[in-house]
């Protein structure tokens, strides 16, 4: 007999409504965050293995992982803060510093470089007024270089949030950000 499907993890809307939306500095986890972490726990042999998933879940809601958030996650999974900190700093997609509401990941690997990726970077810097690693003053965008995004035949490429943008040109970059300046 087939196993029943795990239902998508959701918490009653009333519970969410009662909870304050946690800022990045909240030192507790919300019911929704806990429910999503609980969903991952039986998939692994140890709670330690859930650490990265848990950080990613919480980061999805808070943008980045502050010291207080890290401590709350460590406590919830019964891990030492040092242990989880060691993991958090190893992985590039876990942010230990504030980032903008959207992260722009431009590919700086070889095929994009051949196809004009450096010019794309220059155009992005000019358009946003920031250098790689920085966040715009309005807190909207953080610009980050990323390894080959696996779309090299459509180079140069970038990913904004979860959205891929391919065959980039200066024109296309203007178009992508045009709507927002209006």
């Amino acid at each position: 007999m087939a196993r029943t499907i795990e239902k998508a993890v959701t918490v009653e809307p009333e519970i969410i409504a009662r909870e304050k939306v946690p800022g990045p500095y909240a030192n507790y986890l919300t019911a929704q965050e806990k429910a999503e972490i609980d969903h991952e726990i039986p998939r692994y042999e140890t709670k330690r293995a859930v650490g990265i998933d848990a950080l990613k879940i919480v980061q999805k809601y808070r943008g980045w992982i502050s010291d207080d958030t890290l401590k709350a996650v460590a406590e919830y999974l019964s891990l030492s803060v040092a242990e989880l900190e060691g993991v958090a700093t190893f992985y590039t997609l876990i942010f230990r510093e504030p980032v903008g509401r959207q992260v722009i990941y431009y590919c700086d690997s070889v095929s994009c470089w051949i196809m004009g990726g450096e010019q794309v970077r220059a155009k992005l810097e000019e358009h946003l007024g920031i250098k790689p690693g920085e966040t715009t003053a309005d807190g909207e965008y953080t610009l980050i270089p990323i390894q080959c995004l696996g779309d090299c035949d459509k180079a140069p490429v970038m990913m904004v949030g979860e959205q891929m943008h391919r065959h980039l040109s200066c024109e296309k970059i203007r178009e992508i950000f045009a709507g927002e300046n209006a």
Binding site: R48, S109, D151
Partner: protein, 435 residues
Amino acid sequence: MKASTPLTKNIGPENIAATIEQYQANGGYAGLKKALSTMQPNDVVETVQAANLRGRGGAGFNTGLKWSFVPRGEGSPATKYLVCNADEMEPGTFKDRLLMERDPHQLIEGMIISAYGIEAVRAYIFIRGEYHLAADRLEHAIEEAYEHGYLGHNICGTKFSLDLYVHRSAGNYICGEETALLNALEGKRANPRAKPPFPQVSGLWGKPTVVNNVETLCNISHIIANGPEWYRGLGKGADAGTKLFGVSGRVKNPGTWELPMGTSIREIIELHAGGMQDGYKLKAFLPGGGSTDFLGPEHLDLPMDYDAIGKAGSRMGTGTMIILDDKTCPIGMVRNLMRFFAKESCGFCTPCRDGLPWVEKILTDIEQGKGSVRELDQLAQQVWNMRPGNTFCALAPGAAEPLQSALKMFRKEFLDHIERGCCPYEAAETRFVGA
């Protein structure tokens, strides 16, 4: 009908395997049913070995042989794992993303059969965190497979049970190295582990574990459904089956194509990729991603076979080629590659941690016309320091491959930069990407 392009038979202009019904209507899950109803686990292992499928993750090891090292049968550890390596981060590689986004059930079916073969009770797809669409589609397809009784308890009414989960990684190229990947799955820092013990004996949480690439696992259902003779017959030369080959760089029609193993490089670049763009000439190419040695125009008639490319001094790697044209600075290209490897080093061994940033710095100096001839010898020394066996994992030897071949192949260009005191090529910042 036995397709001559089994891996992409569902991948056309329109997505014809978006649902499990569509996938089944085109022959999907027939291989799994055949395996479960007519074969013992060991038959699966032997069939895959006889098919001579070689790992598509880069090293080209015989997949069935790798599986045969897993302790199986009575008295073996009850818990074993299968892990799909979907970390695809090798610069210039774009094949696994396509397979997962466009035909997720093909990978899932391949994994269920493989897990049956090695007697795994749980399987993971370790996917890089940036592949959101692929991960979403896989998770959806896994739900469908549970609903249809292809996953979970007593699959297709047999005694075989399996759970399959997607793990979304949080980054770093080193996670693709199979033992580092196991550490990442265990929630640790992704440093590679010492081998032996090999993962097949002691892997995830110390249990026997097989790690295979996405494309490798996508072949399995077809081998089981159509037999090893059919599979070997798909190849043109020494190697069996088909392969996803890709071309990126300044060609007219960059892309990915499923072609017989042993297809000539010339056919791939000139016919499928449409040849070079007008005004550009082919100077050199990396045949299989960023950690393979450069080959030149004199190698165009070689077949894409593991041994043929090996004899020419390079590696088939991931089978996705990166083309260097005559208007792009070769030093800049190698510097870009070395910066990647320097950034991705896990920092465990000295030649990798300290050597790669130094290589990057020397190359930057040379590219900017501030280098000296003596530094070319220093680069050669670094290549020697990063040789296979001198570091803990294959990242550093992989990084050394494009560097060592560039030093030989582009000696004139290196000297040109040094003697002129500047880069004779147009600067990367102004190279045309459209107004």
